[in-house]
Every structure is written in structure tokens, then in C-alpha cells.
């Protein structure tokens, strides 16, 4: 059951082979057993979860006894458990964003994404650990302690969606939500051996998704396969009037092209993504994956993304700038941490924020404040926004030569705890292949493509704007041919 795909789980539930309560209990028991070691979850509520499972069972009973494939299709996610990254507001559940600032915050409303999955009948298992306010690439900045990579407990799972990644990899949940601002779905998916997808900017509503960098943030699915991610994306995507950047477009079935053969597919390989800086083991796994694609009938062409070397510095001007604006709402007045002692209002703000935020968050707010301040705005923020346009233009030109772009998701596999703690910039460079995709607003995925010294390696697939169905097709065809995505870390039972 813990290895089953969402489609298989749906069929099992429809055919009454298992109830939602039984399936949910299975995962809750695994969480109870393994979460103390892995620390993937910040908040759990067994009784509340089981109540939701019972409600799902009542719905399943209405769908029809002896259920059919059609019944499963009508409600493909009904009764299946799900975990949410603790950045999505969940009414009545704590939403901490991995921070002391929101350690006791209970949201009075559901995020749009949470509503969508709730309406689809998924059962909330708990809230997943994450880097504080989504700022990090290792899940080491969480106020609630680091998350361990189930493939090697001395290594990080990646971040910021580290808890979600570990939860899926350790089979504590069949699926999880994540968010991706500079790589925070794709990088942990790569480091933990899962499939994660960041949609085109504007496809998934950010309402109720605690804001880090508003022009970059996107929520997306994390699961064991592209097929699963397609089903989850179908539930998540779509217009929401409450998010002013949500796009109004005709509804899509993201699984519609999964089975298309890849003969004739043109794959772009950016020379900048295959230069030095990549571990030999990562290079070998990615090149082997490209060879598989050639066997499937795809051709490859070298493309250039000449400005992509500027993506990490541009991002570390733009994202902190937007974060400094977004996190100014945390002032101890209406919600969140308020300092116990202060001299006056300004002192209350300054102390509440100094106490509530961790070091990395403070660093980014300060950088952001500086680059937006009078006298520096043009030189830093505007300059970075112009470079952003150059980066996006590179991709637009590349997509004239190819249908999708492939490359490594990360330069190396999971690193040891503390390995990049000394120098913030070293940590930032873990996202060297993922960040440009956010700057351009493009969709991107990571799928497992091998191992490097026992640690998973991720292959990044980048699609053109609104090219999710094509990306999922490219991922799925590879997953029909290979079994990297079915591997599971040892020592976690069956």
C-alpha cells in the first residue's frame, strides 16, 4: 500500500479493498514510528485526521458499492491521505512556516490549495517541516529542528520543502504539497529521490500560501511519480480571484499527454548546465538519462543560456527585496510573536521581529531592505529586474530550438548537516540550476535518475511557459522505462 500509486490507491478505495480510515491509519502509524527520527512533520492531530478519513469513507460509500474505474475517475483523490507544507494556511490547524514568529499561529482560513484538496476529498495527515519562511536549501533553518534525509540520516533532505520531501521519500504520506521560489520543490525532490513539480507562475493560487517572494513563489505537488503529480496538479491548478496574480485560463487535464510517445521530441541541453561545478556522479546519472531519452526517439541539441550565471546573484537581490516587503507584516500587532517586554511601539516591533525571526530570515530582510532603500534601488533592485528579463529572453530563444530543456537539478547530491552553514553564499549556490526557472516564471520538474554514492540524483525538466503537460509526458515516459522513482530508502519497513 505504501508503494501504491495514487491511481492504485483510488481503485483500492473505490473497490472497497481498503477504507480511507485503514489507509490513513497505516500512514499515521508510520509517522508515529519514524517521525521522531526524521522530524518531517511539525504538527499532527491523529483524531482530527481520522475524522476526515471517516468523512471520506462516507463519501466513498455514496460513490457506489463495488466501485468502478469510472467511480475512481469521478473523484480520483477521494479518501487518499496528503501532507501540506507548513506554509499553507489550514483553518484550525497550526501553521508555523517553520518559524518562532508563527509558532502558535492558528489560521482562521484555508489556503486556496488546501480548499482544493479538501474538496477533492484528500485527508490531511499533518503539516510538514520546512526552512523558516521558505528561506533555505537544506531545512536547517527551521525553528522546529532540521529534517533528516531518509536515504542518509547524516544528510540534509534539501529545502525549503524538506519535510514534504522526507515524508514522501520515507513513505509517511503518498503525496505532499511544497512551494518553490528558487528551487524549493525541485531541489529537495532531487535530494530525496522523488518527483516534484513547480508550475508556470500564476497557475496555482498563492492565496493563503504565506508569502516569501511574491513574483517567484509557486505551490506544487511532490509525489513518487509524474503520473501522481499530474493528478495532484489537476486538483491544485486553476483561477482564484483572491490571488491577484492568478491566471484565468481554460481548465487543463495535466495527465492528457502522459502516454504520448517521445519520438521526434527535441531536448535542449544548455551548455551552462553541463559545465564544471557538477559532481562526477551527478553528471554520469544525468548523461545516462539523456541516453535513455535518445532510445525513446528524442533528439538533443545544445542550447545556450548565456545569462544563467547571473541567476543566483539576481535572485539574491530580488527575493530578499520582496521578502523584506512581505515579512513587514510580522509586527506583533495582529498575530504572531509579540515580545513580552518593550519600551514603546517601535521597540515592540524591533524586539518582536528580532526574537521571532531566525538568522537567515533576518539576513535576507536586511539585504532586501538595503537594496530597496533610497539611493540603492536603481543600482540593485532595478538592475536585477533588468537581468531577469535577459534570463527570461535566453529561455524564450532556447525554446525556439527545442521542446523541453534537461539538465541536473542540483550540482551534487544531499550534503551533510552543517556542511554549508558557515557561508550563506555556499548554500545559495545549491540552487544554481533551479533559480533561473523561477526568475523566468517557467514550469520545472525534478525526477529521480540514479544514485551517486547511494544518494539520489535528480534530473531537471524545464518546459516552456504553460508546458506542464509536455513536461509530465517527458517525465512519465522515462518512468515507464526506468525504476529510479520506485526505489525506497532501506530501514523503513514495508
Amino acid at each position: 500500500m505504501i508503494e501504491a500509486s495514487l491511481k492504485q490507491l483510488s481503485a483500492a478505495l473505490a473497490q472497497k479493498k481498503i477504507s480511507s480510515v485503514e489507509l490513513t491509519t497505516l500512514f499515521l502509524d508510520r509517522i508515529e514510528q519514524y517521525n521522531p527520527t526524521l522530524n518531517a512533520f511539525i504538527t499532527l492531530d491523529r483524531e482530527r485526521t481520522l475524522a476526515a478519513a471517516r468523512a471520506a469513507d462516507a463519501q466513498l460509500a455514496k460513490v457506489g458499492a463495488g466501485g468502478t474505474a469510472a467511480a475512481g475517475q469521478a473523484a480520483p483523490l477521494l479518501g487518499i491521505p496528503l501532507a501540506h507544507k507548513d506554509i499553507f494556511c489550514t483553518a484550525g490547524w497550526r501553521t508555523t512556516c517553520g518559524s518562532k514568529m508563527l509558532a502558535n499561529f492558528v489560521s482562521p482560513y484555508d489556503a486556496h490549495v488546501v480548499e482544493r484538496f479538501s474538496n477533492a476529498g484528500m485527508v490531511l495527515l499533518g503539516k510538514c517541516n520546512m526552512d523558516e519562511f521558505a528561506m533555505g536549501s537544506s531545512n536547517e533553518t527551521s525553528h522546529f529542528g532540521p529534517v533528516k534525509n531518509p536515504w542518509d540520516l547524516t544528510c540534509v533532505p534539501g529545502g525549503s520543502s524538506g519535510g514534504s520531501a522526507t515524508a514522501v521519500a520515507a513513505r509517511l504520506t503518498p503525496a505532499a504539497t511544497g512551494t518553490d521560489t528558487g528551487g524549493s520543490i525541485r531541489q529537495p525532490a532531487a535530494l530525496c529521490g522523488l518527483t516534484g513539480l513547480k508550475p508556470t507562475y500564476g497557475v496555482v493560487s498563492r492565496y493563503g500560501m504565506i508569502a516569501f517572494a511574491s513574483s517567484l513563489d509557486q505551490g506544487g505537488p511532490m509525489a513518487k511519480s509524474a503520473e501522481d503529480c499530474a493528478l495532484l496538479l489537476n486538483a491544485m491548478a486553476g483561477f482564484d480571484p483572491r490571488d491577484s496574480t492568478s491566471l484565468e485560463r481554460p481548465a487543463e487535464d495535466y495527465s492528457r499527454d502522459l502516454e504520448k510517445p517521445l519520438a521526434g521530441l527535441k531536448i535542449g541541453l544548455p551548455r551552462e548546465f553541463f559545465a564544471e561545478g557538477m559532481d562526477a556522479g551527478v553528471r554520469a546519472a544525468v548523461e545516462a538519462a539523456v541516453a535513455e531519452y535518445r532510445k525513446l526517439g528524442a533528439t538533443t541539441v545544445e542550447v545556450g543560456l548565456p545569462n544563467s550565471n547571473l541567476s543566483v546573484p539576481a535572485y539574491y537581490v530580488i527575493a530578499p527585496a520582496e521578502a523584506s516587503s512581505n515579512l513587514s507584516r510580522f509586527d506583533g500587532v495582529r498575530y504572531g510573536h509579540r515580545a513580552p517586554d518593550y519600551a514603546d511601539l517601535n521597540d515592540m516591533y524591533a524586539k518582536s521581529r528580532a526574537q521571532g525571526f531566525g538568522a537567515e530570515v533576518k539576513r535576507r530582510i536586511l539585504i532586501g531592505t538595503y537594496v530597496l532603500s533610497h539611493g540603492y534601488y536603481d543600482a540593485y533592485y532595478l538592475k536585477a529586474q533588468k537581468i531577469r528579463r535577459l534570463i527570461a529572453a535566453d529561455f524564450a530563444a532556447a525554446f525556439k530550438e527545442c521542446d523541453v530543456i534537461l539538465g541536473p537539478t542540483t550540482p551534487s547530491p544531499a550534503f551533510k548537516f552543517g556542511a554549508k552553514a558557515a557561508d550563506p553564499v555556499q548554500m545559495y549556490l545549491s540552487d544554481i540550476y533551479t533559480i533561473a526557472v523561477n526568475l523566468a516564471g517557467l514550469p520545472g520538474m525534478s525526477i529521480p535518475c540514479g544514485f551517486d554514492n547511494g544518494l539520489p540524483v535528480g534530473l531537471q525538466i524545464v518546459g516552456p511557459w504553460f508546458g506542464e503537460a509536455k513536461m509530465l509526458n517527458v517525465a512519465h515516459q522515462y518512468q515507464l522505462l526506468t525504476d529510479w522513482h520506485r526505489r525506497m530508502p532501506s530501514g523503513l519497513g514495508t
Binding site: S215, L366, T369, I387, R388, D423
Partner: protein
């Protein structure tokens, strides 16, 4: 662009985050490290390039000016540190 301790103090005040004298030096050094890293952007010729604030070319959507939300003040204030008579309480601002 290298920051001084005065700069750090000024930025901290703008950001409303208290930085103790003990933290100020380390903070300055870390911020300078990040600024040194992003300095490479200055070398790029961006003459004539429009800044890109948004991934997709869209305009702010407008809607009719009618009330669409229910009054949930009590729910929203239930989680506040201090409230009274529907107001959020803060230290006295005006003497």
C-alpha cells in the same frame, strides 16, 4: 559597496529589527559577503532593457466595488496578542 556598522544600524532601523552591538559586526560581515557576491550584476550591460517585475505580461485585474466578504472580525481578532472593543492594542503612540 561595503557596509559600515552605521549602515547596518540604519538598515536595521528601517527593517524594524533590533540588532544588538554584539551581533552588529557579524551581521555586517555576512551582509558584505552577500553584497560582494551580487556585485557581479553591476558589470552587466543592461542599457535599454526593461525591468521585469512579473513572469507573465498581465495587468492588475479589477472588480466591481461591492462587498463580497463576510464580517469575520471576531475570528481574526481571536488570535491577536491584545484586543479591546474590536481594536488592536499597542503601546501608546501619541503623548
Amino acid at each position: 559597496m561595503s557596509l559600515s556598522l552605521d549602515d547596518v544600524s540604519r538598515i536595521a532601523r528601517l527593517a524594524r529589527i533590533e540588532i544588538s552591538p554584539a551581533e552588529a559586526t557579524r551581521t555586517r560581515d555576512q551582509l558584505n559577503g552577500i553584497l560582494a557576491f551580487v556585485e557581479q550584476l553591476q558589470a552587466v550591460d543592461t542599457a535599454g532593457i526593461e525591468p521585469m517585475a512579473h513572469a507573465v505580461d498581465v495587468v492588475q485585474r479589477l472588480r466591481p466595488d461591492t462587498v463580497t466578504e463576510p464580517d469575520r472580525r471576531d475570528d481574526f481578532q481571536a488570535i491577536a496578542p491584545e484586543t479591546e472593543a474590536g481594536l488592536y492594542l499597542v503601546p501608546r503612540v501619541i503623548e
